[in-house]
Symmetry: C2
Subunit: 399 residues, 2 copies
């Protein structure tokens, strides 16, 4: 019905890493893959032609945002999200729950929408009671755009995602914060499990539905959630936050969870630092989505290969604001083949960044997304050639 399937091409001998292909009616995604986030039907500062030029195999849009602006019914009237944004490859959507819970925070603090919408990192600071009210029935929340009141539950989320016509959709879940205690996290997990079944019942059967594992950073809850979500007939499995307070916590959560899952595709929500990509592919994750490349790009941080100076300490980032680049005629990363590096110098990009020229955001996004997609290609090649560990060592321990 969905034309959706997942094919595992090879499993690594020394880790849980694997290469595969997610087949959808809008084309294939080669895994492991990093999915660029196109919150409002655009990867911030890029258009769909840029995504084509970057050979991006897919994108992920936000149900919450598109439900509010321009409205999922508007998008349905115009065809679907693919037609709306003129992107003819697979599109993921999230369930909308996460932003519904968390974005009131930004609204209260009057954070400018342009370039600075919160999409989750500060979730622990969100005073949920005031901006979103969660019960077993669903979530009442206020729009970040105009303060109007809205309601979302599994049925509604499935309906919105059906209107959007995305290829891969997410079950409606409650994402907890690392600050939530055991009892609340358990309650939210139980609710998520009820909502998982409702999402299965109500979702558009032309769309591939991923269930979401919750349970915070508590081992018994994660185990229970993994077993339960894995027992349901989802097309794929996503692992939701909170992923704990540290990278070590996140690794533990994956180590607990993934051995309980069968061979369906596995998505890790909202993760995307380079170190994380390696660690999570190692632990068996197939796809990631994250706003990191575009967000850090806007703030002047551009990715560097290990041979060009990137390492764990600098998070593989060059910081354009530094005076040393003022007259530097070299491209950001001399090894990079992106259209930004082919044409522009560090000096020119630094100038555009320092004077807030709009075009800078796009040139930075092109570099950082190209970089992530090339990294994923390198990772897939390494798994194919039994050299994933060697590649990881090169990135983590380059002199």
């Amino acid at each position: 019905m969905t034309d959706f399937s997942f094919e595992i091409l090879k499993e690594d001998k020394n880790s849980k890493a694997r290469i595969g292909i997610i087949h959808t009616r809008h084309g294939d995604i080669n895994t492991p893959y990093f999915v660029p986030v196109g919150t409002l039907a655009t990867v911030r500062s890029l258009d769909s032609r840029d995504l084509d030029d970057l050979e991006s195999e897919c994108t992920l849009a936000n149900t919450y945002h598109l439900h509010l602006k321009p409205g999922d019914e508007t998008i349905k009237k115009l065809g679907n999200l693919h037609k709306f944004m003129s992107f003819n490859r697979p599109i993921f959507t999230d369930s909308g729950g996460f932003q519904a819970f968390s974005l009131g925070f930004a609204r209260e603090h009057n954070i400018n929408k342009l370039g600075t919408i919160f999409t989750g990192e500060k979730r622990s600071e969100v005073p949920e009671e005031k901006f979103a009210h969660i019960t077993d029935e669903g979530v009442n929340f206020k729009s970040i755009y105009d303060g109007t009141s809205h309601f979302m539950n599994p049925k509604k989320s499935m309906e919105i995602q059906s209107n959007l016509g995305s290829d891969i959709i997410m079950a409606f879940d409650e994402c907890t914060s690392p600050l939530n205690d055991y009892n609340y996290t358990k309650l939210a997990m139980k609710r998520t499990h009820v909502w998982a079944k409702e999402s299965l019942e109500f979702h558009d059967k032309n769309q591939a539905l991923y269930g979401i594992i919750q349970g915070g950073w508590f081992e018994d809850l994660r185990l229970e959630s993994a077993k339960y979500i894995n027992s349901l007939p989802f097309d794929g499995i996503a692992i939701g936050g909170s992923l704990g307070k540290s990278k070590a916590d996140m690794h533990k959560i994956l180590d607990w969870t993934i051995p309980l899952l069968d061979k369906r595709p596995r998505h890790l929500l909202g993760i995307g630092e380079i170190e994380d990509i390696f660690e999570c592919v190692h632990r068996g994750i197939d796809t990631f989505d994250c706003v990191m490349p575009t967000r850090i790009g806007r703030r002047g941080s551009l990715y560097l290969n290990p041979e060009s100076g990137g390492n764990l300490q600098n998070k593989f980032r060059l910081h354009l604001k530094r005076a040393e680049f003022k007259e530097d005629p070299r491209p950001i990363d001399p090894l990079c083949t992106c259209s930004t590096c082919k044409r522009y110098s560090r000096a020119y990009l630094r100038h555009l960044y320092k004077v807030n020229e709009i075009v800078y955001f796009r040139l930075a996004a092109i570099h950082n997304i190209h970089f992530m997609l090339e990294l994923m290609k390198e990772i897939r090649e390494s798994i194919k050639n039994d050299s994933f560990k060697k590649l990881k060592d090169k990135w983590f321990n380059h002199p």
Copy 2:
């Protein structure tokens, strides 16, 4: 020395319109031509690859801005402006005087640099005494970026433009406001004439230098200025503001001035509405520069051909903010062949505009600049085919 020359291919029988080619060492400009303004070494929201894709034959950068950010000496160290911004076609620069006089205003009112730098329209509101002090020696002014004090005079302006390495440079002049009286306008014109000779003396002889006619909206001053500037060995002649308080004033100024000029290329500074283009080409102008297409685009106004609903009353503009476009699947202008119109709907562009997505600015700029360049092509063709008047009638009187 400059590899600069101007060839007139044909003069219209019914008007002063003419087609020609400006030859420079970085290539040719077919006139009449609209020169997109790249204030800070980027046409706002576009990169040089976009300019190439638009087949833009040239650009005009601002001496004032580049002197301050990143500094003309930095650009010289990196080669020149062409190399800095990776644009290998002819570049104009203005003299820097106009912004030096006028931009303190924006600074006092704390206007955000992103997207809203003043570049002249509000000049009449500028309290010159406080932010810039003009004498016969030159102008002392404060930087819009950091309030630091700077000085500019003809010698300094020529030195900066030499460092930038642009192909066509402008003499240092004093641009008056329509609010200035006869006596002040005369004084400023006399100063401009002295500075014209100094500019000729000090300019880099590898660059083509345009003299600037001043004199406000006073006939005798404009006549005097046109005769004097035309008598000097400039490579081209520019007509500077103030151009009066109305379009009729501007037309009168051109009608007084242009008959006094020989066959050198004529540039009109800072003008660029569609109606103006026709009226000024008619009166013998060869090149224009203006931030209009990108600025109005950022504000949601996109150009329309007459057959698509554009006319004098709506200034050939569609206003995206209108609710009627919310679910409109058509391109901005169905007759347009730009990359924005080829791929995106009014509905999608309106959505991006309404939620302040950065990419909107670029897609709008591509449409509006493409539109202007196509219009100029159409105008050149019409002069070639003796149908300029017919074309103007079509645009001005389309039912």
